[in-house]
């Protein structure tokens, strides 16, 4: 729903080969896939991944693919070669626990890239990225891009240190990185929203753009805080999805102006003011 750069390419539907599926020790996994014909993607876009690797015969339980942010792999592949793309996920429900069993060489179904990319900040603005839980995965490539042009703060939150996914990758970037864990095992003890306070303390609206991805309550809290400070706040929503490309109408988010928007197609990126937060489950 935000003004976003055009797609790099049209989405594809293919079977991708698992290259690696690395557990990070905290319940998180980094899945590397070889995708042939990958058209490239914009930071903020996602793929639909089958709930687990392909088996000798199709199994219809669980039925639906799972939306997953593209963590890395935003360049289109060169013709005839396959490109590596990565997703970060946490083994929680049925789909991700089955995915966690995928072995190198197995196949997963992929449809993507889907959705729109993040809209650019104004030049000279500080860019503040706030990631909670697996939401962090959506922000990494965006942090890389923004850091080339302007000052970037990255605020990451999780329950405990081990659950801060992708931490080393963010540490390797030239950004102002701050962490919060609920149990205090790394960085500030508490929620990531608390890290936002000092940054917003005396910032002027035109000086900062906020990008947030994480659990709905966290995005809602950031959105409210940003709104009070008059700062533009961009969120990446995680509604349930069946198709990912705008045909099931399952992913609708209610809008403040009334009506709904399809998160998979007009989103997942929204200006926080567009979203009717009270109408989200």
């Amino acid at each position: 729903m935000t003004e976003s750069p055009a797609l790099n390419g049209s989405p594809i539907r293919t079977r991708a080969t698992v290259i690696e599926n690395r557990a990070d020790g905290g319940g998180g996994f980094c899945l590397t896939l070889a995708v042939s014909g990958w058209p490239g993607a914009l930071p903020g876009q996602f793929v639909m991944l089958s709930a687990g690797p392909r088996t000798a015969v199709e199994r219809w339980d669980p039925l639906l693919p799972r939306p997953m942010a593209i963590y890395r792999g935003h360049q289109p592949g060169s013709a005839g070669e396959s490109t590596e793309i990565q997703v970060l996920y946490k083994a929680t429900g049925a789909g991700t626990r089955l995915l966690a069993e995928a072995l190198p060489g197995q196949l997963v179904r992929v449809v993507g890239p889907l959705g729109v990319g993040f809209p650019s900040p104004s030049s000279g603005q500080r860019v503040c990225l706030v990631g909670g839980g697996t939401g962090t995965a959506s922000l990494y490539e965006w942090a890389v891009r923004c850091a080339r042009k302007q000052p970037v703060s990255v605020l990451l939150g999780a329950r405990r240190a081990q659950e801060l996914i992708g931490l080393e990758d963010f540490e390797a970037l030239d950004v102002d990185l701050r962490c919060a864990t609920e149990d205090g095992s790394l960085g500030t003890a508490g929620r990531v929203t608390a890290l936002l306070e000092p940054l917003l303390a005396d910032v002027k609206p035109e000086e900062m753009s906020l990008y947030v991805c994480g659990p709905t309550p966290m995005m809602r809290a950031c959105s409210e805080r940003a709104s009070r400070a008059g700062i533009r706040c961009i969120v990446s929503l995680e509604n349930n999805m069946a198709c990912g490309f705008g045909v099931c109408l399952g992913c609708a988010v209610p809008l403040t102006e009334g009506g709904f928007s399809l998160v998979c197609k007009a989103g997942p990126i929204y200006d926080a003011r567009e979203v009717d937060w009270a109408g989200l489950p």
């Binding site: 039925l63 449809v111 509604n239 109408l249």
Partner: protein, 311 residues
């Protein structure tokens, strides 16, 4: 030398290059599938059910996953008939067979809508959705009572001269009287089944998963029920039947043809594999080649049953 197989069928007076259509509400307005599938590879598609005015659906969550199935309670969110005729249809490539689906809250709504759609040269036929299980009024009431359904179809028939198809609800005690009512009221074909009214609960929040509480079950889980209803309907009426429900493969589609369907619709599977309908069309051809079937129409109703008394 393999003899070419004739895959064409005629459903409700609509000539189709093969019997594979896609189901209303699972194929958007067609263009969404352009990246994945040449729409001319399949028989045609049925668009999302339309209303006279654009319409918003239910608040989220609207979908849930169940064993080999999914629930939805979208509630006929659509762009409205004007945008469909003026924007969606012109965006489609030539040679794509489009069936338009209509939804209304009273027979007059349905009739006006069907007439406008049927008048468009780009619309090959009109499918009446008299069976949406989770819209508070309309749809399902007609779909659960043969008398009301007959009246509805009769009203629409008066205004529509082109192919008129009625989509039946599975949420009925007996499907045959519903199909018979459509036949008597002058429909050209029936499509079955729509989703089955269902529910899912989250034991952690102790709430229904869907904001609407109830939703419609679709996907492979319902295929045996759909197949049974198609078989029962095909024995009750002479109307051509379009079979829908849980089709994931050419073999699934062929089961419906054998049970008496003239064509099939692929629904939920489009979400999981947007190329599925094309693959199913190809698979039917391969099956026919492998089995020496020269015309796909030879498969229609070709089920061999020992005890035809069973019903």
């Amino acid at each position: 030398m393999i003899q070419a197989v004739d895959t064409s069928v005629e459903f409700a007076g609509i000539p189709l290059r093969n019997p594979v259509l896609t189901a209303s509400g699972t194929f958007g307005y067609g263009t969404e599938f352009a990246p994945f599938l040449d729409l001319r590879r399949i028989g045609g598609f049925v668009g999302k059910s339309l209303t006279l005015e654009p319409r918003f659906g239910n608040p989220p969550p609207r979908i849930a996953e169940t064993p080999s199935g999914m629930l939805n309670a979208i509630s006929i969110e659509n762009i409205g008939v004007d945008a469909f005729l003026n924007e969606a249809l012109p965006a489609l490539p030539d040679g794509v067979v489009v069936i338009a689906s209509c939804f209304g809250t009273d027979p007059e709504d349905y009739a006006r809508l069907a007439q406008r759609l049927s008048d468009s040269p780009r619309v090959a036929g009109v499918e009446i959705n008299a069976s949406c299980p989770h819209v508070k009024s309309g749809g399902i009431e007609f779909g659960q009572d043969p008398k009301l359904l007959g009246e509805l179809v009769g009203r629409v028939r008066e205004r529509v001269s082109g192919p008129l198809i009625v989509k039946l609800s599975p949420n009925v005690t007996r499907i045959a009287p519903m199909a018979e009512a459509c036949q008597e009221a002058g429909a050209d074909g029936v499509t079955l089944i729509n989703t089955i009214q269902s529910m899912e609960v989250d034991v952690e929040t102790r709430r229904p998963v869907l904001s609407n509480v109830l939703g419609g079950l679709s996907g492979p889980a319902i295929r045996p029920i759909a197949l049974r209803m198609v078989w029962q309907a095909s024995r009750a009426v002479d109307l051509p039947i379009c079979g829908v429900g849980g089709i994931t493969s050419a073999e699934d589609a062929i089961k419906f043809l054998l049970c008496g369907a003239t064509a099939v619709q692929v629904g939920t599977t489009n979400y999981i594999n947007p190329m599925a309908a094309g693959e199913i069309a190809d698979g039917i051809l391969q099956y026919a080649e492998r089995h020496g079937v020269s015309r796909v129409t030879d498969l229609i109703g070709a089920l061999e049953v020992n005890s035809p008394s069973a019903s």
